[in-house]
């Protein structure tokens, strides 16, 4: 079944038609080119002409148009993203082996082990074609992880859909969930967490973000560069087809409008089997040390891979494009350069290693073709059957794209929005509070996500120590020592809409707190910044504020951003999504056996609430249920978060706590419900002392979303030690109840009792009712 370059058909006469060579371009300066249809702006096209000193060829135009697209070049976001680098201190970089700018960041977790992780968006394709869009989102992020030299070990998918009862939502939920499952399950990667949020602002722009984690030894780190003059350039994996042409430039870098043509052909089609084989094949290449540099083919396909490899290495590359193995022989050179066909990789191999490389390809039945070699000319030369069709300085394609300092200003409506604080329904008596808790736990954003997560494999690889519905996913890295990592992703679009600076800090605070809640020490950050159109100055202000907030918060918490992704133009018919900065935090455990689950189980253990409860209902899930969005989000006190994290990590390590659950959306009511439902073990809770201490009413105690809080269960024998530790760190802590393995209920004494069966039914019915 194996075909390689020697078996590939020679370029036929028909493939020589109409080739726009460099010589032809020089001779025909006035020829009209379709730069606007390819997504370039007039000033950008002029700049290309200026760089080249002539008009570009059709192939060059294709390359510049995709590489200078918003998706690939970050031209609107670059000036802001700089802050992630500027605000990093040496101390924060202590664990960073590879930082921003490579395919993914790499973090040292000790004992010679390293972890690479990154979150990316696949929003636009997933709206157009939900199954393939979501599937290839997983495929793309996994290839980024492989490119670093790592074995992928887990994935997570933060998802945002329109209103749960909108007629288009089932199409997207079914397609996206089965796309993630269909691809991820077939790769043998456990899906260990993520988020599912419903909100009408995401109706025309669902967010499909995908995070992958990989594990490697320090010495195995690979980078995307083409060094060593005379080394060979090889393309391997799936064949190149006509799918995904313009995916990055036309699809991901523009808003959707009703009067524009369907963009379905711009979506790529995935083959998870090919990717699984590619993973094993790449790992074998790394083990045998036969590749010098490697780059996955994602957005902008061969254009991206050749220009990035060349400009990161010795600066030159010579490629014969007719040697690319094609699925569709009618593709033009420009289409071949732009195609985003999946499951492809490009590598640089020394002449001495080509035979070893080929042997590994043959073993795994992977197709490959040698395309050319590394040069020191400083030029990327691409030929079509010997005729030069691209002659560029690769840096001008890959790195010197346009940079926009787009205008931005604070929205005029923001003051009025922030003054509109929640003054709606506040249930007071026991029956009303009981009904409110049931309503909250059945709400689309708070209900059990089992119907979705049960479509993902969480067991494969045998190293999953925690997964949904616990606070973070935890995987073991080293089977001998138990060394492992925890990862959580979080974002709250409503908070960010009310105050994008604080919203970004809150997203980081929650992910950081979640990781610490499982007992892991937070180390590093990845982010996926989902926004509307950067050409709208108010959206651009939201973006600028978000980056400033996140960079400041990373600095305060001492965790660096290692990489990520920006997704703009999430906007349909002039309506932008809420600013949604999805933040992923990675933490490390010496031994994952110490991880703390989110639910209690041992009768008689004391339940403590850590942190202070304020009257913070603006932007809350409760206000959302009452149709209100206004005011200011909760205060993000990062000093408090640091102390809380230290308490959670230390008490986990020293065996003081057996359960811990962070308080976030839905406040104490949600945390108590989830902790009780986790293992089906009830509790008796008293909130009156809390109300008195913090000066809040029972409703606020249960539904406020004040930050810096967590509940923990503590064995009787550990209570003194635990109290002493909290006191020593001067952190508010209050015993609010005990685990009751007999009563089968969440009993908030003096207010209401909720049998767990009733609570579970309400919690678990919502998604099946809408989608099963």
């Amino acid at each position: 079944m194996t075909l390689n370059s020697s078996a590939a058909p020679a370029p036929s006469e028909s493939r020589k038609f109409n080739i726009d060579t460099v010589a032809h371009a020089t001779d025909t300066p006035e020829l009209e080119l379709p730069w606007a249809a390819l997504g370039l702006k007039e000033n950008e096209f002029d700049r290309v002409v200026e760089i080249l000193g002539r008009r570009p060829t059709a192939a060059e135009l294709a390359m510049y148009s995709v590489m200078w697209s918003e998706h690939c070049s970050y031209k609107s976001s670059k000036v802001h993203l700089k802050q992630f680098g500027d605000k990093v201190t040496d101390a924060m970089k202590k664990h960073l082996l590879v930082g921003i700018g490579e395919n993914a960041g790499v973090v040292d977790i000790g004992d010679g082990w390293a972890v690479t992780f990154k979150v990316e968006s696949h929003n636009h394709p997933s709206f157009v074609e939900p199954y393939q869009g979501a599937a290839t989102g997983v495929g793309g992020i996994v290839r980024d992880i492989i490119s670093m030299g790592a074995r992928p070990v887990a994935i997570m998918d933060p998802l945002r859909f329109g209103a749960i009862d909108h007629p288009d939502t089932p199409r997207l939920v079914h397609g996206i969930v089965s796309g993630i499952g269909g691809y991820g399950n077939s790769l043998g990667l456990p899906n260990i967490g993520g988020e599912v949020v419903f909100g009408s602002v995401y109706q025309g722009n669902p967010l499909v973000n995908a995070l992958a984690v990989g594990v490697l030894r320090h010495e195995d780190i690979r980078l995307a560069n083409a060094s060593g003059v005379g080394n060979k350039v090889v393309l391997f994996g799936a064949r190149t087809g006509g799918d995904g042409i313009g995916g990055a430039s036309v699809l991901a870098s523009e808003s959707f409008d009703a009067d524009k043509p369907s963009k379905r052909p711009a979506v790529q089609v995935g083959d998870p089997f090919a990717e699984k084989v590619l993973i094993e094949c790449c790992l074998e290449l790394f083990k045998a040390s036969v590749v010098e540099g490697i780059q996955d083919l994602g957005a902008a396909g061969i254009s991206c891979a050749t220009s990035e490899l060349a400009s990161n290495g010795d600066g030159g590359m010579h490629v014969e494009l007719t040697d690319v193995l094609l699925r569709d022989p009618s593709l033009t050179p420009g289409e071949i350069l732009m195609s985003e066909s999946q499951e492809r990789m490009m590598a640089v191999v020394t002449p001495a290693n080509t035979a070893a490389f080929e042997a590994i390809m043959e073993k795994w039945n992977v197709e490959y073709s040698w395309l050319g070699e590394v040069t020191d000319t400083g030029r990327l030369i691409i030929e079509w059957d010997g005729e030069k069709i691209v002659d560029v300085d690769p840096r001008t394609v890959a790195h010197d794209g346009p940079v926009y300092n787009r205008p931005f200003h604070r929205p005029s409506w923001l003051d009025a929005l922030q003054e509109d604080t929640f003054d709606g329904d506040r249930p007071a008596d026991g029956d009303a509070l009981r009904a409110a808790v049931l309503e909250l736990m059945a709400a689309p954003n708070m209900c059990s996500k089992d119907w979705i997560t049960n479509q993902y494999d969480r067991f494969v690889q045998g190293n999953t120590a925690l997964a949904m519905p616990d606070d973070a996913g935890v995987v073991r890295v080293d089977e001998e020592t138990g060394l492992g990592v925890a990862i959580s992703t979080d974002a709250n679009g409503r908070y960010s809409y009310l105050n994008p600076y604080e919203g970004a800090r809150l997203a980081l605070a929650e992910a950081y707190r979640n990781v610490a809640t499982t007992g892991a020490k937070p180390l590093a950050v990845t982010d996926c910044l989902n926004f509307g159109s950067p050409e709208d100055p108010e959206v651009m202000w939201q973006f600028a504020e978000t980056v400033r907030g996140l960079a400041d918060a990373c600095h305060e918490l001492g965790v660096p951003v290692t990489g990520g992704n920006v997704s703009l133009y999430n906007q349909t018919g002039g309506v932008a999504i809420h600013p949604t900065p999805v933040v992923g935090v990675l933490g490390v455990f010496d031994d994952v056996a110490r991880r703390t689950p989110s639910g209690w189980r041992d009768d008689g253990q004391a339940i403590y609430l850590l942190g202070t409860t304020r009257n913070e209902l603006d932007g809350s899930e409760w206000a959302n249920l009452r149709g209100h969005l206004g005011g200011q989000p909760p205060v993000a006190d990062l000093t408090a978060e640091k102390t809380l994290a230290a308490i959670l990590v230390n008490s986990s390590r020293d065996g003081m706590i057996d359960a811990a659950h962070d308080l976030s959306e839905g406040g104490l009511a949600a945390a108590l419900s989830e902790a009780a439902l986790r293992f089906g073990v009830g509790a008796r809770i008293g909130i009156d002392e809390l109300c008195e201490r913090d000066g809040v009413d029972p409703f606020t105690a249960l539904f406020s979303e004040s930050q810096g809080r967590a509940i923990v269960s503590v064995a009787r024998s550990e209570e003194v030690r635990f109290n002493d530790m909290c006191t020593a760190r001067n952190y508010p802590h209050l015993r609010i109840g005990v685990v009751d393995a007999e009563n089968g209920a969440l009993d908030v004494q003096g207010h209401f009792t909720l049998p767990l069966g009733e609570l579970r039914t309400a919690h678990e019915a919502t998604l099946p009712d809408h989608f099963a």
Binding site: S178, G181, G182, N185, S186, L187, G188, D271, P272, F273, A274, K276, V277, E280, W364, N365, T453, N454, Q455, Y456, D457, R458, F459, V460, Q461, G462, N463, T464, A465, L466, R476, E479, V592, A593, R595, P597, R601, F679, A772
Partner: protein
Amino acid sequence: MRPEATTLDSVRVGIVTFPGSLDDRDAARAVRLAGGISVPLWHGEHDLQGVDAVVVPGGFSYGDYLRAGAISRFAPLMEQITMAASGGRDALPVLGICNGFQVLTEAHLLPGSMIKNNHLHFLCRDQRLRVENSATAWTSSYAAGDEIIIPLKNQDGQFVADERTLDELEGEGRVVFRYVGDNPNGSRRDIAGISNAAGNVVGLMPHPEHAVEAGFGPDSSAAGQVGVRGGTDGLGIFTSVLKKLVN
């Protein structure tokens, strides 16, 4: 033939890897945790390397293209396994898990086949099973009627066969595992796993290799809750075959 194993840690169990196999490393770990030696076997080879037993693990071999298991059964190694497993009670013990079970039915080592789950979704959950036959090479560590909880995860897990075959399987005691509680996929007669007539070849859809190590398994065991992800009810399947080979 190699000399007979005399201690558990001298029993060698081959784990087959096809392109697209996913749970091969998990199966190897299960064999090691049960006390045996795991031996990787590549699908394209013609030599069983003298292993004492074989596990055909889960995954999506060849992407499940055509039908689950339909391409894999033609692998050179599968010919060796089919021959070695077909010699009666003392023939090579073979266990097919999930995709491995599908491969064994395609290879006609086991009857019936698996079609798409009746709800059409991939389903991953902790699953309660009853061990119906403890006399096979892979179930002797249990007593008939024992219940176990191990993970279930598949999209094509609905076991089907014609009525005569089903009656034959029931009559000969070849239904080895049965789903307890909700049938997760519409499998005929709640069948989760079966054996051949000799009892050396067993296939099941749920994953015993994911319930062998406390801390990384399902949240519960049939005996009750055992700590977060603490279920190890699947280990007995691997210890069964090791003990049989030593005795």
